[in-house]
């Protein structure tokens, strides 16, 4: 199955090749849903390079052009009862496939359904030399050559312009319910930790504003039994809460103030106000005016990392950053692709 769409493979390849030949820098953007880039250097947009190139529900694989709107891809998949496993934020429908891969953004179900990286099977890119290259493929298992495809996740287009992306998809569960209860942070943390140890069909958790929410997905019978076995005095809600968290449309995300994304070990109890904890405690959104160093230190002492959001590639420890720069050079020797978005040494 494929959908109509404009194939900009040639002009996009030529744009990078021209930059490579002349040595001038370019900024790669999708629809601009996440980052507001400066007008200079020259901008190359994948928006418009759209369409599902190949979709076979039997194979659980979809291949689409990078400028495709995630919402459009999801609606094609929905027709066959399938979805993108990593629940990327759709950003009012503006979010593109290439943007989701480049920024490495996954939604509420990530610990259970996997991340962008887990779903990614293959890519076609244009590297900084203007060469069009294909890595990975449309099969679930593939160990031929280094895993270049997954290196593109979270690389913000600094290693290559994404043209086509192949992803694994998943069946949409028969039933999804959200259970909720009010509780203090200590209780929420203990309950969440307990969930990690039970093979229940949990597919999301969140603690925000004194309310713990647990999402269950699966067969009708499986979800009903799981809900009963939890026996936590939980109330049933619809899916609106987790949809709004996924799309960053929940009021928490709309408040003013600096937003940080903390990646912590699963089960961490991170006790600060103005937080939204999801992924069984493995990701905490924190709105704070605290100094950047203090936020980073607090994340580090909890065993994790803090990144400002919208997230930039971030800071890596010195020896790791050295190899990241060399990887950049391996793909883009003249440093022409999104030069400001390189990972830095902390």
């Amino acid at each position: 199955m494929s959908t109509q769409g404009d194939d900009h493979t040639e002009p996009l390849t030529e744009a990078v090749a021209a930059a490579s030949n002349s040595g001038h820098c370019i900024t790669i953007a999708g629809s601009g849903s996440k980052l507001d880039f400066p007008a200079k250097p020259e901008r190359v947009c994948t928006a418009g390079h759209e369409g599902v190139v190949d979709y076979r529900p039997d194979e659980l694989v979809v291949t689409a052009r990078s400028g495709s709107r995630l919402r459009d891809i999801e609606s094609v998949l929905e027709g066959s009862g399938q979805a993108l496993p990593f629940e990327p934020p759709l950003f009012d429908g503006r979010g593109t496939l290439g943007g989701a891969v480049a920024a490495g953004l996954s939604g509420p179900g990530r610990p259970w359904f996997g991340s962008v990286r887990d779903a990614l099977l293959g890519v076609t890119i244009v590297n900084g030399l203007g060469q069009r290259l294909t890595f990975g493929g449309q099969v679930l298992k593939n160990v031929a050559g280094y895993d270049v495809s997954r290196l593109m996740v979270g690389a913000y287009g600094t290693l290559g312009l994404l043209l086509d992306v192949s992803l694994r998809v998943r069946p949409i569960p028969q039933t999804t319910v959200t259970l909720a209860r009010e509780c203090v942070p200590e209780v929420a943390a203990a309950l969440t930790r307990g969930l990690l140890h039970q093979p229940l069909p949990v597919t999301a958790t969140a603690y925000c504003g004194g309310v713990l929410r647990i999402r269950l997905s699966g067969s009708n019978e499986g979800v009903t039994h799981a809900g009963q076995s939890l026996d936590l005095d939980l109330e049933v809600e619809d899916d609106a809460f987790f949809q709004s968290v996924r799309d960053h449309a929940h009021p928490f995300f709309l408040d003013p103030g600096r937003l940080w994304m903390l990646s912590l070990p699963p089960g961490t109890a991170f006790d600060e106000s103005d937080t939204l904890a999801e992924w069984a405690g493995a990701r905490v959104w924190w709105r704070t005016d605290a100094k950047a160093d203090a936020v980073r230190e607090q994340a580090r002492s909890a065993g994790g990392y803090a990144m400002p959001f919208p997230a930039l590639p971030g800071e890596a420890p010195a020896p790791v950053a050295k190899y990241m720069r060399r990887v950049k050079t391996a793909f883009d020797p003249a440093n022409i692709l999104n030069p400001e978005l390189l990972p830095r040494a902390d």
Binding site: N127, V139, G154, G218, T224, P266, A282, P313, E315
Partner: protein, 484 residues
């Protein structure tokens, strides 16, 4: 060039029994699981600590000696084949489980820990490590990382890359890279993605953090027999389309079924053209629903018989034949050559028919046993190495199968790696520009080119000597990409 000074330096820095140079003692190290290829190493180093690993790498760097890293030596593609003038860095002595974190559900382990030992250690916490390659009792987690190992449960639980959260890597230049950790994400490039499956070409993994999962409440195994192999292939697609993701979905053809029956008497239907084994897991209620769905699909797909195993003993009986399939094939022919191509599932029936035609052309039988759920074929080419020329015929047949996999939109290796075995096949799958990109990525980690040289990625010269082998055009547009 063998510089005796290197041996002395190694002896200075490592315990006495950790440096092996005696010819007889080197024999066990001359091959990995790809036993057709043998080469004695110059010297084997068996470090016990990270410091000793770093010392070995420093000595190799200072003296420009190539180093091949080895785990348990169960790899099937010759990735750990030693070099006659190189150090074989063997990590089996680094086999401690450093931490079991029941709260975050992770384990931190040294690279030499056997895969199955992680699950054994985590079992008291009700947790397990999901990837289970068939060699799991012996193979090491470091080797699993190097090869991105799979197993029968990948379809639902993923490969090594989906189950490793962090690692510590020593580079030849002496840097220690701490990548990831107990968290799900880390800032910057995903260098871990490059490390997993890199076959020891980029660095030496000295610590691995793996994800542990809660043991499912319930498991069921279904066996379905078909009188036509295409129908069995279609049933696989129908199960996936039906919205069920089995924990495992395996297929065996008639030759494999009968070989397994002769060997372990698993009770498989001998007259079937193919059988499917389907494992479902989850909660009791969830599995009940899935069993009903799969059963209906199998009936509709024309299965002539469906059996359901509920308890552990029955499940074990159904898996017994599949698990014994490789040794069983070893009993019906003096030798077999195990292939590892992956294809899109929809091509299953067609590719099996084409392998059948090749089998007639080469005059060699093939038993097919494979991970049907993820399209990963393991055709076992049966041959007799005592018959002159037959091993070459088997290799030629194997390379035809791999070309076929690429032409049908698949890959030359699903889970066994390239090693030395599939270097030529890589020329069929990648263009020169893509191979050059791989070489530049290696240089980023190992500019001196001393880490496992000559493996995994062929040189352009090698590919051009083979001549126009690019067969990708059979399935994909733009077979010959533009160059700039």
């Amino acid at each position: 060039m063998r510089n005796p000074r290197v041996i002395k330096l190694l002896r200075d820095r490592l315990p006495a029994d950790s440096v092996v140079t005696d010819t007889r003692a080197l024999t066990p190290f001359e091959t990995d699981g790809l036993t057709a290829i043998r080469q004695k190493p110059w010297v084997v180093a068996l470090p016990e600590t990270v410091e000793q690993v770093r010392a070995v790498l420093q000595i190799c760097r200072d003296n420009a000696v190539p180093v091949v890293t080895r785990g348990a030596g169960t790899g099937l593609s010759g990735g750990a084949r030693p070099l006659s003038d190189g150090v074989l860095l063997t990590l089996t002595k680094m086999n401690r489980i450093l931490e079991l974190d029941g709260e975050a559900c992770v384990a931190r382990v040294e690279p030499g820990v056997p895969n199955a030992r992680i699950t054994e250690a985590a079992a008291p916490l009700g947790l397990y490590y999901a990837p289970d390659p068939s060699s799991q009792i012996a193979c090491s987690i470091g080797g699993n990382v190097a090869e991105n190992s799979g197993g029968v449960h990948c379809l639902k639980y993923g490969l090594t890359l989906n189950n490793v959260l962090g690692m510590t890597v020593q580079t030849l230049e002496g840097d220690e890279l701490v990548l990831g950790g107990k968290t799900l994400d880390a800032p910057g490039y995903d260098l871990m993605a490059a490390m997993v499956g890199s076959e020891g070409m980029l660095g030496v993994v000295t610590e691995v953090v793996v994800k542990l999962l809660p043991e499912p409440f319930a498991k069921r195994v279904l066996l379905a027999a078909f009188d036509d192999i295409r129908r069995a292939g279609d049933a696989v697609a129908a199960i996936i389309r039906g919205g069920v993701i089995p924990a495992g979905l395996e297929m065996m053809d008639a030759l494999a079924i009968n070989a397994a029956e002769d060997y372990v008497n698993a009770g498989y239907p001998r007259d079937a053209a193919a059988i499917l084994l389907c494992e479902l897991d989850g909660t009791e209620a969830g599995v009940r629903t899935d069993v009903d769905i799969v059963r209906n699909i199998l009936d509709e797909a024309g299965a002539v018989e469906v059996r359901i195993a509920s308890d552990a003993a029955e499940r074990e009986a159904l898996w017994r034949g599949r698990k014994a399939a490789f040794p069983a094939a070893g009993r019906i022919a003096p030798d077999y050559y195990c292939m590892d191509g992956t294809i899109p599932r929809r091509e299953l029936g067609r590719v099996l028919a084409e392998i059948g035609a090749l089998s007639e052309r080469f005059g060699l039988s093939v038993a097919n046993v494979f991970h049907a759920g993820d399209g990963n074929l393991h055709p076992l080419i049966l041959y007799d190495s005592n018959r002159p020329g037959e091993i070459h015929k088997a290799e030629e047949f194997g390379s035809e199968i791999l070309k076929l996999c690429v032409a049908r939109g698949g890959t030359v290796t699903g889970e066994h790696g390239v090693g030395v075995e599939k270097l030529d096949a890589m020329c069929a799958q990648f263009t020169d520009a893509e191979l050059e990109q791989f070489h530049r990525l290696k240089e980023a980690f190992d500019p001196a080119g001393l880490m496992n040289p000559g493996k995994a990625i062929p040189t352009l010269a090698r590919c051009s000597e083979l001549g126009g082998m690019h067969v990708r055009g059979g399935a994909l547009p733009h077979a010959e990409l533009d160059r700039f």
